[in-house]
Symmetry: C2
Subunit: 103 residues, 2 copies
């Protein structure tokens, strides 16, 4: 996970609708949710949703598996974790870290 890859992930996460999608899928657990279920939750047009999901898939932030007519989306926990880790280690290792160590 280099800085550019992290930036690409953060860019995708940095849209309200997409951040909601990620939150939904994370909360849904390892089984994730179908595209249709996400659509129900967010109440946005199918084509708009499909584009946003496409962004997230292209960045690897979510995975997809077809089960019959339904396309199941799951959060890529390890990648999300990597992004958070990089953000923490590379970009938050200043005063806050010192404070935390100091208690």
């Amino acid at each position: 996970m280099d800085l550019d890859h992290a930036a690409r992930c953060l860019e995708k996460l940095g849209h309200p609708t997409r951040l909601r999608i990620i939150r939904l899928l994370v909360r849904a657990g390892p089984d994730g949710l179908s595209v249709g279920a996400v659509k129900e939750h967010l109440g946005i047009p199918a084509s708009t949703l499909s584009h946003h999901i496409g962004h997230l898939v292209s960045a690897g932030l979510i995975g997809q598996e077809r089960r019959g007519r339904i396309l199941r989306c799951t959060a890529n926990y390890p990648l999300l974790d990597s992004v958070v880790t990089l953000l923490t280690e590379e970009c938050c290792t200043g005063l806050t870290a010192v404070r935390k160590r100091a208690g």
Copy 2:
């Protein structure tokens, strides 16, 4: 820190140049760096840099304090921490968290 605010911050962090700026300032510590110093490090035109810094300031991710001719920029550690925290708690509280607890 609600989801929309977090999305705004992530959007700003989600650009390679801006993520580099943040990293520089975080590593620079509480005193931060002048705009000129950041420009030296990144090697980009002043106006381009100024725009990016403007983005970060508007999102509150960095602060500025004028000292004579020099404008000192500092990372907003608490805000960065809030973003990471929200991302962790709201969006990474799935399998990864379970794994971590399990060891």
